[in-house]
């Protein structure tokens, strides 16, 4: 096994996901097979290969420090589940 039930519970907690018993079982199995598949890559010898920071062979894509207009607040808030007086409203934290 590449992944344990405990790992899945931990990751779910970090992502604030509430999983049922059955989902934990199911995801542990599925994630395990994904990791198993990805482990195929371990067979390659990467001894003398530089770690890849990015898949695209580009660097220094930069823009000038020039102000562009922001979007209207109504638009910014229109897809939020809850808002009040121009603020996004979220449940109590901590």
């Amino acid at each position: 096994m590449k992944i344990s039930r405990k790992d899945v519970e931990h990751v779910a907690l970090l992502a604030r996901l509430e999983l049922t018993e059955q989902e934990i079982e199911q995801y542990t199995e599925q994630l395990d097979s994904i990791l198993e598949y990805a482990a195929t890559l371990d067979r390659l010898d990467t001894e003398n290969v530089e770690p890849t920071a990015h898949a695209v062979p580009l660097h220094n894509v930069l823009r000038a420090d020039e102000v562009k207009s922001s979007i209207e607040r109504e638009k910014a808030l229109q897809n939020s589940p809850d808002a009040e007086e121009g603020f996004y409203r979220v449940p109590r934290i901590v």
């Binding site: 220094n60 996004y88 901590v94």
Partner: protein, 482 residues
């Protein structure tokens, strides 16, 4: 018995400083402070699906500049990473930051301590985006029922500067912070407006028994935004940890928050559980290759740094203390330097800038950059004293008048007829009157009481309404009294 007789404190600081750019790090939204909530936002900084960030060149420039000023190595290859955590101040559920390849590392700065100079190591400095602002319903972070989120700050560029755990006392920590903020202000890397939260400190503190070389268990108190909060927070945290250790218990390694109102630190243990950031390279941003030409271009723009400036002022004859005060802010140091270009007496200029000029700024609640009188005007006034045109005493009222009206010292002196009387015949007339009116003091002086001359000089000054040249009066009096 002091806590410090039993324990040695070890402290390292993480400083988050807002970089002085016009726009955010990955989008064109303004970084201006004080806009209405959620009006400086766009699909990129709100993390809406399908958008791509593009790095602001000025952020990289300023990070390199700060790194050079802090004696860091500038990376030839650097990249961004995602720091994952789920918290409503981050619309993307990750913060774009730098993990294993920060832009700057292995630097240092020098602080002054009671035992002399001490080098404080800078482990690294990396670029990242700021999070949004949470406004809590309750009184403190731990008692709120709901939270309101303003994303105006989200994506504002920050440089996180991490020190080595090199500091051993609260005064060393404060000296480090003052030096750091001064350097960032001098280099114009940041506005360093502490009251607006543009510089924030996370303080890592641990105690260990005196003589031990092993590090104790530390706590990290986050988000302090003033030197006085840092000092109070450290006093509290040191006393708290000492109490735990004295009781034979272990300090819990954790993140804490500072409650300014109550003057205590509080545990944020529940958040600690999620302290697993699962960093990975940011796929939406390509890496940076920083060639040495780029670095050298930026090195050329570095101004004279505070330490070099203090040294130069001391060579000019200022005391260490005076040089410290003058260079404490870039504004004052620049003002002084401009004035100095037109003034020969550095010492006298120092006294006037640190004395009456600073007092008038404070009394009128204006900052040095908004001073109603220019450095050149202050220089001219000091020159008038040195030339003997006005006395120091008269100058005190002249500078008040300059402050109120913005007029040149020479204009005020002329308009009000304040020029010192250095005309010998005019002075002799007054001196003779004073001698005639004070026979007893004249007797005393002639009988060998040197002090009587002081009284007589005072009388002449009074009769001339303060305008007589005191040195000349002294000389003439002695001649007349034989």
């Amino acid at each position: 018995m002091s806590v410090f007789d039993r324990y040695e404190m070890v402290c390292g600081v993480e400083t988050h400083v807002e970089l002085a750019t016009k726009t955010k790090i990955f989008c064109g939204c303004t970084t201006e402070f004080g806009g209405e909530q959620n009006t400086h936002v766009c699909p990129v900084c709100l993390g809406l699906p399908g958008v791509l960030p593009v790095l602001n060149r000025e952020v990289v420039n300023l990070a390199i500049k700060a790194g050079l000023a802090l004696n860091c190595e500038i990376a030839e290859f650097s990249k961004f990473d995602r720091k994952n955590y789920y918290y409503p101040d981050l619309p993307k559920n990750y913060q774009t930051s730098q993990y294993d390849l920060p832009i700057c590392k292995n630097g240092w700065l020098m602080i002054e301590t009671a035992e002399g100079q001490k080098k404080i190591g800078i482990t690294r400095a990396h670029m990242e985006e700021d999070a949004g602002k949470l406004v809590h319903g309750g009184e403190t972070i731990t008692t709120s029922d709901e939270s309101y989120v303003d994303y105006n700050r989200t994506g504002v560029p920050l440089l996180e500067i991490v020190s080595e755990p090199d500091m051993r006392s609260i005064s060393e920590v404060l000296a480090y912070l003052e030096q750091l903020v001064q350097i960032l202000e001098y280099t114009e890397v940041s506005d360093c407006r502490l009251e607006q939260g543009s510089v924030r400190f996370d303080i890592n503190v641990s105690l260990r028994p005196r003589g031990s070389t092993e590090l104790g268990i530390r706590t990290e108190t986050k988000n302090l935004n003033s030197f006085s909060s840092v000092r109070r927070c450290m006093e509290y945290e040191i006393a708290r940890q000492a109490e735990v250790l004295d009781a034979g218990e272990k300090v819990v390694q954790e993140t804490r928050t500072w409650d300014e109102g109550r003057g205590i630190t509080l545990s944020l243990r529940s958040k600690e559980e999620a302290h697993d950031y699962r960093y990975f390279p940011e796929p939406d941003l390509v890496p940076m290759v920083i060639d040495r030409e780029w670095v050298e271009e930026i090195r050329k723009t570095l101004p004279e740094l505070p330490a070099a400036r203090r040294e130069r002022l001391q060579i000019l004859g200022l005391s260490a203390y005076d040089a410290e005060v003058i260079t404490s802010s870039k504004g004052l140091a620049d003002f002084f330097d401009k004035a100095l270009r037109q003034c020969e007496d550095a010492k006298s200029l120092t006294n006037w800038v640190m004395g009456d000029f600073t007092r008038l700024l404070k009394a009128n609640e204006v900052s040095v950059v908004d001073s109603p009188i220019s450095p050149e005007q202050v220089a001219e006034m000091v020159n008038l004293i040195e030339k003997g045109t006005i006395s120091g005493k008269i100058a005190k009222s002249v500078i008040e008048e300059m402050f109120a009206t913005g007029k040149d010292a020479s204009v005020i002196v002329k308009e009000k007829g304040l020029a010192q009387i250095s005309d010998e015949s005019a002075l002799i007339k007054i001196i003779d009157e004073v001698i005639a009116a004070n026979p007893a003091s004249v007797e005393d002086y002639r009988a060998g009481k040197e002090r009587a001359i002081g009284f007589l000089v005072g009388q002449v000054m009074k009769a001339s309404k303060g305008q007589a040249n005191p040195g000349l009066v002294n000389k003439l009096l002695k001649e007349r009294l034989g």
